[in-house]
């Protein structure tokens, strides 16, 4: 009885989070187009969704972009985390600060700054500008994920390896990678999701020839509510769910 206020408070907030999404999912199966009265179960909107070729092109583009961006960000971010932890070097504090600033930086500032950069370097807006932008904003998240894992290790195992004669490259391949791969993978998943969902930065650096999913959704939503979008959102939500569960499972794995 004493816990009732706490429990009801928590429940209310959880409902606040989930009811809109659940409504969305439910109505993606609603037969009627605009009414919110339940007209019966239907897969019609999913069918329309699947036959929308433009959309699938955008989905494909987003996936390709996400995979490349996540992979490269994972590599650079992983290296950065390892270097920050293991070495002291000129400008180390600056690097820490830069990663910190990048995470807190509002997307819009990053978006316009990259737009200016690309126009200066005469990089046309399209796949490449998107890729470079996505990699850049994913890197700090990988750094944080990997770094927090690496600090949990006994700091002396790297010294012990050095003591026993291992070169840095050997230490990286035979000690750091085997111990760190769950964190690297978690960083990859996080980057992939961030890339797939990014609206603001992509808005500024995307070009007309390479459509990506979030911008497509944005323009569809601005034009008005279409039940197709409900279906799309439901599927996307499901995908996110799968990714999260995956990353949680990986995060629990011991090397």
């Amino acid at each position: 009885m004493r816990r009732l206020p706490a429990v009801s408070y928590l429940t209310t907030i959880y409902l606040f989070f989930y009811i809109p999404i659940i409504v969305l999912i439910v109505y993606s199966f609603n037969k009627a187009q605009y009414s919110l009265v339940w007209h019966g179960f239907s897969m019609r909107w999913y069918q329309e969704l699947f036959s929308d070729m433009d959309l699938w092109v955008a989905v494909g583009h987003s996936f390709v972009l996400g995979i490349f961006a996540a992979t490269i960000a994972m590599c650079i971010g992983g290296l950065a985390a390892v270097c920050l932890y293991r070495y002291s070097f000129f400008g180390q504090k600056v690097l820490y600060g830069l990663v910190f600033i990048l995470i807190l930086s509002p997307d819009i500032v990053m978006g316009i700054s990259l737009l200016i950069l690309f126009s200066l370097l005469k990089i046309s807006l399209g796949f490449w500008s998107l890729l470079l932008a996505h990699i850049t904003f994913c890197i700090p998240f990988v750094v944080v994920t990997v770094y927090s894992r690496i600090v949990s290790f006994d700091q002396y195992i790297f010294e012990a390896a050095k003591d026993l004669g291992a070169k840095d490259t050997v230490i990286f391949t035979r000690i750091i990678l085997p111990l760190l791969w769950p964190a690297l993978l978690a960083g990859w998943l996080l980057s992939f999701t961030l890339s797939l969902d990014d609206v603001i930065i992509s808005y500024f650096v995307a070009g007309p020839d390479f459509e990506i999913l979030p911008l497509k959704i944005y323009s569809m939503v601005r034009l008005g509510v279409k039940p197709e979008i409900n279906a799309l959102c439901s599927i996307t939500f499901l995908l996110t769910l799968v990714v999260i569960v995956l990353s949680q499972l990986i995060g629990r794995k011991k090397p």
């Binding site: 706490a6 809109p20 290296l79 690097l95 700054s113 600090v151 990286f172 959704i217 409900n230 959102c233």
Partner: protein
């Protein structure tokens, strides 16, 4: 060691190259651009000028700044008031459900913000859930204009950003040492005093993290005011977006960003100062 290993040199080169080129340089370019002008042929040209900053002194822009600040501030306050008890209850939970409950917060956190925004539209629009239920119950006889108001923008912002307040608070409160609370109670403090004097100061870093993670996006996410507030709503994010992509006044847009970034820097300084004493090896 006298010479650095190949691995170290290679890694550092890659990292510095990337971050200098794609993170530091662009920020520098924005600052420079804010001092430049535009003409019909080019989006940004010489000569250097202060005209963009002078233009900002206009009451329209100042009004937008103030309003963005105000709305972001209220949003942050609401998120704090809603989020702190929530995070506190979950962080201090002992039961096995805890991991599941945390997972249930992470899910909305990772779900595309756009989708969540859209789901709010579904709820608030004239034929949306709330109106439909109220109509059906007979409480009202025509739909309430819930969408395209300041309230809907606020609801949208809170809905989107609440997880950003909860998660840092959660991490921070979990680290709270129970024994400190026990010691305080043991020495005679009641619940309120314990909260005021022990729990609140110790969770301050988490509160500040959460506030920063909510306040900054609240000022600059442009699609939330756009979708939920319609054309009436212009906040800072919309303004910058507008200047860059519609009005094509890049220098002015840059100037707005620079001013905003300075405000950001001040906030970060406050945050950094207050957490300096908590030397942990994490990033945030």
């Amino acid at each position: 060691m006298k010479h650095d290993s190949f691995f170290k040199q290679f890694s550092l080169s890659v990292i510095w190259f990337w971050l200098l080129l794609f993170a530091l340089l662009p920020f520098g370019l924005v600052t420079i651009a804010s001092f430049l002008s535009r003409n019909d042929a080019h989006l940004i040209t010489f000569p250097f000028t202060l005209i963009n900053y002078l233009q900002l002194n206009n009451s329209i822009y100042i009004k937008i700044f103030k309003e963005s600040f105000y709305i972001a501030g209220i949003c942050t306050a609401i998120c704090l008031l809603l989020g702190y008890p929530f995070a506190y209850l979950i962080a201090r939970m002992q039961s096995g459900f805890k991991n599941l409950l945390i997972l249930l917060i992470i899910i909305p956190f990772w779900t595309s913000s756009l989708i969540r925004c859209y789901s709010m539209i579904t709820i608030l629009k004239p034929k949306g859930v709330i109106n439909s239920i109220l109509l059906w119950l007979g409480v009202i006889d025509k739909p309430l204009p819930l969408l395209f108001t300041d309230t809907s923008v606020m609801i949208g912002l809170v809905y989107n950003l609440l997880p950003f307040m909860i998660l840092p608070l959660l991490t921070n409160i979990e680290r709270l040492d129970d024994r400190l609370i026990d010691a305080a109670r043991d020495l005679g403090a009641n619940r309120l005093t314990t909260f005021r004097k022990i729990i609140l100061p110790l969770t301050l870093p988490g509160i500040l993290s959460g506030c920063i993670l909510v306040f900054l996006p609240a000022m600059t996410i442009f699609y939330i005011p756009d979708l939920l507030g319609g054309s009436k709503s212009i906040l800072l994010g919309n303004l910058i977006q507008n200047q860059f992509l519609i009005a094509e006044n890049w220098p002015l847009g840059s100037a707005i960003s620079v001013v905003f970034t300075l405000l950001l820097a001040i906030l970060l300084l406050i945050y950094w100062r207050s957490t300096r004493s908590n030397q942990s090896r994490d990033f945030l």
